[in-house]
């Protein structure tokens, strides 16, 4: 009584989210990763995505192994969060003067009513809507149904791989592209672990995810260090 709940109790608490709601949530978080420019929101979307994907992993893997995937996701988010903090979440260093800021290329804005929105944000929203529609259409088509997984997992796999692919194709910025890569990998792993129940593969894919995260963190440091800003 009153101790730490077991994995099974956690799953029971979150039962209302399991199945199609989890798949739709995953589609939403993957879309947010594609759209959002602010690193803090991106990291929040990524951790939420790993938590929800854990519920989907529980549909194809034993719950304790699904929990391991969530833990790996949490570590990845921690690695990226610490690095993001070190480089001021991708913003300019605080001691940069107005003149120095003026030398940088200005963000192009578009006026919609009283709001000025970055044109890139609108483009990403538009693109995300197209991808969502495509994913939805594909998931309803029997020709693209992955017979080895339940229907809602099929939707989640398509969402993660599709959105991940678009995200990392659109940018060379290490954090955003890296999150796209991790999203793509998560979608693929969801499929792969459903068809291949090898513990060794689970472990080595998790190690690969962590090393990819470390690599992304290294590249974030290189891209957003003070010297890079001067360059």
């Amino acid at each position: 009584m009153g101790g730490i709940p077991t994995i099974y109790e956690f799953l029971a608490y979150l039962d209302f989210l399991r199945g199609t709601p989890a798949a739709i949530l995953v589609l939403l978080t993957a879309s947010l990763i594609l759209i959002l420019p602010d690193w803090r929101w991106l990291l929040l979307a990524l951790i939420l995505q790993y938590l929800v994907v854990g519920l989907l992993f529980a549909d194809v893997l034993p719950p304790h192994l699904a929990f391991m995937k969530v833990l790996v996701g949490a570590f990845i988010c921690l690695i990226l969060y610490i690095t993001a903090r070190q480089v001021n979440f991708g913003r300019l260093p605080e001691d940069v003067t107005e003149e120095e800021v003026g030398q940088l290329e200005e963000e192009r804005l578009v006026q919609i009513g009283p709001y000025s929105l970055p044109i890139e944000l609108l483009f990403r929203v538009f693109l995300a809507l197209i991808v969502i529609l495509t994913i939805w259409a594909v998931s309803q088509s029997t020709g693209f149904l992955l017979t080895e997984v339940p229907e809602h997992v099929n939707l989640a796999i398509l969402s993660l791989t599709g959105m991940g692919l678009v995200t990392f194709s659109l940018t060379g910025e290490p954090l955003k592209a890296g999150m796209g890569l991790l999203t793509f990998m998560t979608g693929f792993e969801l499929f792969y672990h459903a068809i291949e129940h090898s513990i060794a593969m689970l472990v080595v894919l998790s190690i690969a995810d962590l090393i990819i995260a470390l690599s992304i963190a290294y590249l974030m440091q290189a891209r957003h260090s003070f010297l890079a800003f001067l360059d």
């Binding site: 793509f184 513990i199 593969m201 090393i211």
Partner: protein, 463 residues
């Protein structure tokens, strides 16, 4: 302790030590070199046929190690390749003394080497594929080095590796579950994985970015020594699946991809505006030729592919060292500057560096009187008779490669002053001696190609 475990432990342990001592360059080089030398000796202390030599002790030389039930075995097929790559990496480490690289160069190379060794030792290729991904993730760090700024090449390298792994894993699952009805899918998946991992058309765009953004010796690791290990990994997969490797559709797709790579590289080469890009496109010519060679199929493909990659390593070392010597003379920044326009008079300012760059570049293009010609020649004489369209494209690409380099050479010979304020950095005696030695070695191997061809045949024979 088992042989595979030790082969992974040595480079990772050495990488940790070297990383901690990275500011003490000579010590780092010595430790790195000793690590790879030990690995080469350790791998070599076996007689052909798999019987271990007892000098190190029978209990240590157990050739099998299991990781969560996945066997890693040091077998005959990969022994010679591993030894060559370990020695090649050791040679590159030594070269960092006269031609310094980033301090991360040695530790990152050692970690990549450990992952790639594990990928080759893995007996199931799906397991090996994920180890390949781990190696690629560390390779992204190696490409970036300690350079702040653009990370495009590293991010794209990582993206391509992530993209390749699902192709391999799903193909592996289909093969393991004997889903013969999906043969065309397996062929498509393996073709996709091969062109991504060998950076052939349509995934060739990032090669030149990698050459531009990385330190001069990094391409020799990425597209030379590590590419050799990746190719051996892919050859293992193909030989284990003769239904795929003997499939005419699969082989035609490879030849078409190789020919398309050659055409793209040739077009880019004639319009290249920086030395880094020039080298990148010359490298692409070699990659295209290698993919065409793989598309020949069978025994012929093995010999030709091995010859081309071994010669590519040599070409990349020559051109890389030359590039390192002349790069600071032609650019104040690594990108965005029309470097070819700053090359006037370079031949008089840096003759040795330029000679090495040109000779290495010609070797990558496969020009006669260079070591690379032997690889192209082996490919042409082994191809079907009469020669197909891909062979015609191959010959034209050699000519384009030579023309591209001559165009660059003509600029460097011009004595007109560009008004450049770049100062000529003095070369040390050691770097001059080593660069001269490399040039001599390149010329020697061009006239005695059997030395290197017999080595490549030795690598191909166990298959």
């Amino acid at each position: 302790m088992t042989a595979p475990f030790i082969l992974l432990l040595i480079p990772i342990g050495a990488a940790t030590i070297v990383y901690l001592l990275r500011r003490r360059q000579t010590l780092a080089v010595i430790i790195g070199f000793l690590a790879v030398l030990t690995m080469a000796l350790f791998t070599g202390t076996r007689r052909p046929g798999g019987v271990p030599v007892s000098s190190v002790g029978e209990s240590i030389l157990n050739l099998r190690w299991e990781f969560f039930g996945q066997p890693l075995i040091l077998n005959d097929e990969i022994q010679a390749t591993l030894i060559l790559v370990y020695l090649g990496v050791g040679f590159l480490f030594i070269l960092t003394l006269p031609f310094p690289q980033d301090t991360i160069f040695i530790p990152a190379t050692l970690v990549v080497l450990a992952s790639m060794t594990a990928a080759l030792l893995a007996q199931t290729f799906v397991f090996g594929s994920v180890l390949l991904l781990i190696a690629a993730a560390v390779l992204a760090i190696l490409i970036q080095g300690e350079r702040p700024g653009s990370t495009l090449a590293s991010v794209r390298q990582l993206s391509l590796a992530v993209l390749a792994v699902p192709f391999l894993l799903i193909a592996g699952w289909m093969i393991d579950t004997v889903q013969a009805q999906f043969l065309s899918s397996i062929i498509f998946l393996l073709f996709g994985a091969i062109v991504i991992l060998m950076v052939a058309f349509p995934f060739q765009l990032w090669v030149s970015s990698t050459v531009v953004e990385s330190r001069p010796l990094v391409p020799a690791v990425t597209y030379g020594l590590i590419a050799l290990l990746v190719t051996v990994f892919l050859l293992n997969v193909l030989i284990a699946n003769p239904v795929v490797f003997g499939n005419s559709q699969f082989l035609t797709m490879l030849r078409v991809s190789g020919a398309a790579t050659l055409i793209a590289a040739s077009l880019f080469l004639l319009t290249a505006k920086s030395i880094g890009r020039l080298l990148g496109y010359l490298l692409l010519l070699d990659i295209g030729a290698t993919v065409i060679a793989l598309g020949l199929g069978g025994r012929v493909a093995l010999d030709a592919v091995m010859a081309l990659i071994v010669l590519r390593i040599l070409g990349l070392i020559l051109a890389g060292v030359g590039f390192g010597l002349i790069r600071d003379q032609v650019a104040s920044s690594l990108s965005g500057d029309n470097q070819l326009d700053r090359c006037q008079g370079l031949a008089w300012r840096k003759p040795l560096g330029l000679a090495l760059f040109i000779y290495g570049g010609l070797s990558l293009a496969g020009a006669p009187l260079t070591p690379g010609f032997a690889g192209r020649w082996a490919l042409i004489i082994n191809s079907q008779s009469p020669p197909g369209l891909s062979m015609v494209i191959l010959v034209i690409s050699v000519i384009v490669g030579v023309v591209g380099l001559l165009r660059f050479l003509a600029k460097t010979l011009s004595k007109k002053d560009t008004g450049s304020e770049v100062e000529i950095s003095p070369e040390s005696n050691a770097s001059r001696i080593v660069a001269s030695g490399l040039l001599f070695l390149g010329i020697l191997l061009a006239f005695f190609p059997q030395l290197i061809l017999s080595l490549s045949r030795m690598l191909a024979n166990p298959f």
